[in-house]
Every structure is written in C-alpha cells, then in structure tokens.
Assembly symmetry: C2
Amino acid sequence: MLLQLSPVQGAATLAELDAKDAAGLLGTFTRDQIISRLQLLSPNQVADLVLALPPERREEVLKALPPDISASVTALLHHPADSAGGIMDNRFIAVTADLSVEACIAKLRASSRQRTDELLYVYVTDDFQKLVGVVSLRELVFAASDRRIGEIMNRDVWSLGLTDDQEEVSRRIQHHGLLGLPVVDEQQRLVGVVKLRDAIRVAENEATEDMQLMVGLSGEERLWTPWKNSIARRLPWLGVNLITALGASAVVGVFENTLARWTALVVFLPLISAVAGNTGNQALTVIIRALALGEVAPGDALRVMRKELVIGLANGCLLGLAIGLLAFGWKGSVLLGAVVGAAMLLNQIVGVLSGVAVPFGLRRLGVDPALASSIFVTTITDIIGFFLFLGLATIAIWKFAL
Amino acid sequence: MLLQLSPVQGAATLAELDAKDAAGLLGTFTRDQIISRLQLLSPNQVADLVLALPPERREEVLKALPPDISASVTALLHHPADSAGGIMDNRFIAVTADLSVEACIAKLRASSRQRTDELLYVYVTDDFQKLVGVVSLRELVFAASDRRIGEIMNRDVWSLGLTDDQEEVSRRIQHHGLLGLPVVDEQQRLVGVVKLRDAIRVAENEATEDMQLMVGLSGEERLWTPWKNSIARRLPWLGVNLITALGASAVVGVFENTLARWTALVVFLPLISAVAGNTGNQALTVIIRALALGEVAPGDALRVMRKELVIGLANGCLLGLAIGLLAFGWKGSVLLGAVVGAAMLLNQIVGVLSGVAVPFGLRRLGVDPALASSIFVTTITDIIGFFLFLGLATIAIWKFAL
C-alpha cells in the first residue's frame, strides 16, 4: 500500500506510524525506495526508523543516505529514542560572544544554503562549546550591526539535559512558550536543539498513548496498523480483563443462593456495574489528563480524592434515588428499592474513589498511570459493587426473613 | 484559591480552565484584580473570558484594559470562539510589495517596542489590504537590503478563512509545519494570524475533550474545576447511562426463566459484559484518535470495519476457547462450555463492530464522534451480548431438554 503513495505522502505516513510498524513496512522495500522516503524526514525520525530495522539492514541504509543526514542520524542513535537526545535536532548554529552582529549575520547567511528548515535562535557558546547565551533571530535583526553578540545575548538560557524524558521536555518547551530549547551534555556543552514542532509530536503521541493505554492497548496503534500487530497489542490486555472479570463472576457465584431466592436482583446487576464503571472512568479520565499535562503533583492525591468524594456522594444520592424508585415501582417492594438504591449510591462512591486510586497507585508503582487503568477501574467497581449489592440483599433476606 | 496565586500563576491557571469556570472564579474579583491577571493573557484568551463573564461586567472590564488590548479583544468578540477568527491574534505586521528590504526592517524595528511576543513572518498586502505574499523573518535578514519585498516574497501563501473551524485550523498549521498562518476575510483581506502556539492549545484541548466526551463529560473538565460544575457535567450522562443500562437489565429480565432454570449462567454475565465492553473501547479509541488527527475519511468506514472484524474474530476465538474450557472445567458441562464460549466469540465481534459503528454513526449525525461514545459502545455490547448469551442458553435448554 505504501508503495502506491508518492514519496512525500509515504514519508508522512511513515512518520505517523509507530517506528516498529513503519520498519516492518520498509522491510519489503528496496534500498532506493527506502532512501527516497527517508530523505524527507528529520534526522530524529530517521533515527527512530533505522533503530527499528533489522540490524543487518541498518548499515546499508545509513550508508546510502546523504553524508550529512547519515552523520546526524548516527549521532542520534546513541541516545534513547524517548529522551531529549533522541528527539533533538543536532543541526544548529552556535557562535561565540565576541562575534559582531554583522559577522554573525554573515555567518548565518553562509550556512543558510544547506538548511531547509526555519532558523529561530542563535546559541552562544564559549571556547569549550559550553552554552552561555541565546539570541533570537529577531533580536539579531534589530541590533546595531557593530555590537557584540555578548552584549545583546540573553544569559538566562533554559536548557535540557540529554537524558531528560521526552514528555517532560515537551511540557517545558510549551510551558516557556518558546520555539525550541537547547540540549546540553553533562559538561554543559551544546549538542542539539529540541524544536517546538517535535515537542508537539511528542505531546500528540502522548495523548494517543494515554487514551489507548487506558483501555489496554500496548504501544501505539494507528488506524492502519496491520491487523496482526493490532491483535498482538490488544489480546494480552483482554486476557488480563478476562482474569480480572473472573473476580466479579466469583462474587456473583458466592451469592448464588441469594440470587436464587430473590431472582429480581439479577436484573439490576448490569445496571450497578455499568453506571459505576462509567463514573469511575469519568474521574479517571480527568486525572490521567491532568497528570499528562503536568497539572497535578503526587501530593495532590488527597485533595483530589476529597473533591471526587463530594461528586460521588451527590451523584450517588440522585442516581440511587432514581433507580430505587424505579425498582420500587416495578415490583412494589420497598425493600428491593432500598437495596438497589443504596447499592447504587455506595458503588458511585466506589467508582470515584477507584478512579482516583488507580492512576495515583500506578504512578506510585512506577508505571504509566494510564496503563490498563480503565480495565482496573471497571473491575474494581464490578467486584466491590456486586459484593455490596448482593451483600445488602443477603442481609435484607436474613433480617426480614424473605 | 486563585487570589492566593501570583498574578502570573493566576493568569496561567485562568488560561487552562474552561472559559466558563474561569469567568466564574473571576466573578468574585474586583476590577483591578481581574485586570492585573487579564493583561498577561493573549487577546484571544481574554476574549474567551470576557465572553463568559456576565454581560453587565463585560463593558467594565473592557474599559479598564489598556486601549490596544481592549481594541483587539473587542474585534475578536465578533467571531465565534471556536473559529479561526476567535483564536487568531489580530496584531500583525503587514507591508506593501514596493517597500525595500531596508525600509521593511526599519518599520519592524519601529513597531517592535510594543510587541512582547516573537515575530515570525511579515505579510505582504496590496492597496486594498488583500494578502498577496509572505516573507519569513529569516528571508528578510538574508536578502540584500536594496531589494523590494515583492521580489523576495513567497506568493504561494496559505491562508485561513475567518469562519474555519479551529480544529481544522490547528491541523493545517501543524501539517504545513509552519509557525503560523494568516487569516483573511471574505474579500481576501488580511485580518489576523493564528500562531502555532494557539494551534497546539487547540489540539491539546481537543485531545482532552475527546477523552472526556467518550465517557460522558460535557465540556472540558480540569482537575481543579469546582465540584458543583463537575457534578453538572457528569450527572446528565450518568443519567443517560442509567437509562441505556436499563436496556441491558430488560434483556436479563426477559430471560428470567432461563436464568432460574440454569443458575450457573448468572456467574458469566459480568464476564461477557466486561471483556466485550473493553474490546469495543479499544476499537473505539483507535478510531476516535484517527478522526481527531485527520487520518481517516468517512469513506474509510468499510475498510476499518473489515480490519476490526478480523481482529474481533481472532481475539473472539481465543478468548471464547479459554472461557469455554474454564466453564466446562468448573461444572463439567460441555453444553455450558459451548454456550459461554460461543457467546464470548460472538460478543467480541459485536464489540469491534460497535466500536466502529458508534463513532462513524455519530459523525454521520453531525455530532462529535467522541460524544458519550464509550457509554453507547458498552451499552450495545451489554444488550446484544446478554441477548446472544441468554438466547443461546435458552435454545440449548430447549434442544437438550435440560
């Protein structure tokens, strides 16, 4: 399919696919077909793809690329793909502070021919390549031509470390409202630049990943991911869900006698399960997004819990009342109405609490707070919800000798 | 709480809240407190907030703002907040094509004092303010100073219409890899610029909105949205879910006799419901995200359906076999194993199909494809799943005269 697209469209498609899927597609291509598409991508995109190719093809592809791209890609391959080093562009312009504005502009002009992308900032380094300042192109244009770069540069230059996590990097660039941030190594030497554009790509991929992780999709699945890969990504978590759902089944099994004596209860099982599961997912979604956008600190968990508790109580009272009246109206039994209504109220509270506890808990365990979180939340609301509902019913049967 | 933050932090918080919530918080502020925070936002952010204030306070706030911001905001108030006109910045620099490069730079320098944000492109207009070209700051710097703007400008300038939808605008800016796009009115006159930064804000809000809409959260809820607003947003869809879940309850009610005669079935209800619901949400999430990122056309529905069908069949066979064997092992009944396994397989197919049908269907109806989609998908898998499961069981009872 990819071969039918023009190289430009093909390159755009490759850039959007997960690197592993893209490398799989490239596997069937000849060397020239690969090269014609890779040339249109940025060095960090090429590096991700090359890394996903089988080792025996990497050398071949790297050799066939134009020398400057090949050198950039090789340098990037030394950094993890999800670090600042892995997403940075290592083509940048650095000048020393003693250069005049005029000489600096002349230097930019000379270097401009090979560069197809926009130039935003000029970085200033000392004799040891250490980053000491930054001048925006705009400041350069507006400065008198005989001034020194050292006089007009901004010394408070924010920078990123090579190993900084890409999501933290993306947030920092967007937070500062800048078009890019420089990357330095351990000796504070300038080694690259992460651009706003790459920060956006990271943020978009993060949003996709969070949404997919919540429902148990490992890695990134795009619409045109081959179905074999889709199955491999979805099935493991469905298997986990099968096992966790057995817990809910077991609870129902424990109360088999209660259900046999009061068959009307069965009808309310799907209702107790569905609405509380949705409540849990509402709270979960708000929190996952707040974590992704860096709007919440770990210490906020208790405050969030308190807010969600109020919401769960209020919604639970209203929904419990509604379903309690309905149950009473259906069978004319006050007891049925009371049991169903109370179970609905209690399970709303379980819903909001698990919606908070799961993402914060996952983060405490050091894994992505979105990971299969929706599966965990609905399992908790099912298990505890059925236990509360059927437990209340059992007490009612015993108390009122039904 | 907001008053305890510094004006800068307060402004950042306001910018992140939904305009209605932010306006609610501002309602308790004095005029001066409002102004000190609004001055730090861009005109389009101020316009969103002013629009959400009670009408009687709008005039007062607009009057108290510095005259240039006030004028920009007033102009923006005429456009819907979710159009290009509503998110554009109407402070831009336009020159005519006959200007020399030197004169153009001088003009920029003169206008630079009032502008705190970075300058990226200079737009070129004719005598009727019609947009005819664009010059990047970089091209301007590198051009010989005696050349005319008309000679160096790029005539193939992409532009946005005032009424273009903000999400389409955001995608176009990111797609072109530009730092901003000009906005023109119906007469092709330049009226503003949408910056990459605002495009990102739109894209991030869209991701948040999609995730929240899926589980039934109207509008945007952030972590610190007041709980009263949170309840108002979540409760209506929980009510809808209560009603749709009644459908699943009704199906269970119809088969009350079957369940009374074969009580082991009850235990498998939560399992059939949970796993297929999750399968549906997996397919749904992939499609919602593809729609949001513009990776899928309406005509693709059938192709997507075919791919998902293959996935549903494969996962359904494996999960059905697993749960069928488990059911057989538990009760030693081949018939129970066969009914539970077949129901699991069939409901996996229902899951993937509803995961495709719901978002494409909602879009066909002209509403957001994410709207309460997760609620609809899980309702469909519950209702059809229970019907298939208990229907198969009824046939089995009848055929084998249990």
